[in-house]
Amino acid sequence: MTAPTGEAKIELRGLKKSFGAKTVLDGIDLSVGAGESVVIIGGSGTGKSVTLKCILGLLWPDAGSVLIDGIDVTALSGRAREAHTAKIGMLFQGSALFDSLTVWENVAFALKTRSGVSNREARNIALGKLAQVGLGSDVAALSPAELSGGMQKRVALARAIATDPEIVFFDEPTTGLDPIMGDIINRLIVDCVRQLGATAVSITHDMASARRIADRIAMLHEGRIVWDGPAGDIDSSGNDFVDQFVHGRAEGPIEMAVRG
């Protein structure tokens, strides 16, 4: 499934990022082909969210490059960079809904920044996206603070895909959802990739979800990608880190910083 370098939609080369003395990313190399769905797994605090933010330009990497459609976006600034970021829809781990706006205004937000989309059209598209994530028009006029955490997550998902972006990032899309809704969301992500031809990068701790949505799985540990392969190979990876993570064992090469 791995796309050859020439037609990679997103390519990370030697990406490094530190916060003060703390090194979070220590040379990430990852390539995501067009129309591919990649899931990044890894322990809590290993820098999965930081990786996505570096690609989006919300954080500046200390070293390395981020190529989108073959163009190094870390070398761009201002408008040119924004044009690349506009291709990407992002579901934030904490939802990040605008609490000064209603639910449908949140979902329609990016649509309204485009010229030629009327208020009514934007609202209709928003209601359609909300229906896709299992939310009826009765919640559309509520404020995000009036929703449960799982409902907020689904609104955030609807907002991320509202403009049918070429690339979508899902940061823990199913965390906090019941198993049935989780499966609906998994299917929605698969549909996004299969039907719309979007390129997806998801982060999850939920291995069932990872198996369901991934073409390829990459494991992040101590600032590097320690394993990267087809989703079907995840149980026979021969990699101790991956085995320990997939089976959720406390003993293994990954030592969690727990002090007794």
Binding site: L56, L58, E82, T85, A86, A96, L97, F98, D99, R114
Partner: protein, 257 residues
């Protein structure tokens, strides 16, 4: 030589903070003049910053005008110069007290609110989300607040001037037995347009400083509820100090040392 190190560290930290603030202000102002503009947000901020500050600014102004009249009466009566009261009230209000007191009250009310709102948006990643939705956070969040601050503070100060003069008039006529028509005549006699205009220019500068400090501290807040609380406090303290300091400099510039 060790005692120099902490001083140097504080000084360098101060320079770094000043540099960051100036850079933030420069970027924000440059976005004020480049499209797209969010007219609706500007309108909403004008109502938040201007209209809803009217009660607190009005109350501050009326009591200040009243106490000015009372206190200057105590002083001038000893010199048989009671007729100077009207002039003292109107000049103090328009030149200094109107802009400074309105500025300080708005700094407490609006500066804290802006820092808390923008700070919460920062720590809940809403500002990051804006950027991913093809919206520049400076244009959407900062510019409307700056414009609203610069535009509404002069109006608030004009209202404060009028109410303050009225407060002085009410006390003089009702408690100090002044003749109403005579008091008004004295009020107008020595008032120059420049007295009012310089006050309004000060107000615009204060409006910029208040909203800038609110946005700056909110935009750079870190670490959850505590960080947002600190941002609100810092916004109020820094804008209050800046108002008083810049007031002195503007007075010097307008009227000479």
């Amino acid at each position: 030589m060790n005692f120099l190190a902490p001083i140097g560290r504080v000084f360098i930290a101060f320079l770094v903070a000043t540099g960051r603030l100036v850079a933030f202000a420069a970027v924000s102002v440059s976005h004020c003049v480049r499209p797209p503009f969010y007219g609706r947000s500007i309108g909403r901020q004008m109502i938040q910053i201007g209209y809803f500050s009217l009660p607190v600014v009005g109350l501050t102004a009326i009591f200040t005008g009243m106490v000015l009249a009372l206190q200057s009466y105590t002083g001038f009566a000893r010199l048989n110069a009671e007729s100077a009261i009207a002039t003292v009230v109107v000049l103090s209000m328009t030149r200094e007290l109107g802009p400074v007191l309105a500025g300080l009250m708005v700094a407490g009310r609006v500066g804290a609110a802006i820092a808390a709102e923008v700070g919460t948006m920062r720590v809940t990643e809403q500002i990051d989300a804006l950027a991913t939705l093809s919206t520049n956070p400076y244009k959407y969040l900062i510019v409307p607040r700056l414009i609203a601050g610069v535009a509404t503070l002069p109006i608030l100060v004009l209202v404060a001037d009028i109410i303050g003069v009225f407060g002085g008039y009410a006390v003089s006529v009702h408690s100090l037995d002044f003749n109403a028509a005579n008091y008004l005549k004295l009020t107008w006699e020595f008032l120059q347009p420049l007295d009012v205009i310089t006050g309004l220019v000060k107000a615009a500068v204060f409006g910029f400083l208040i909203t800038l400090m609110g946005c700056y501290h909110g935009f750079h807040s870190r670490g959850g509820a505590q960080g947002v609380g600190a941002a609100a406090t810092n916004a109020v303290v820094s804008s209050s100090v800046l108002i008083l300091a810049s007031n002195y400099m503007l007075t010097t510039a307008f009227f000479g040392a």
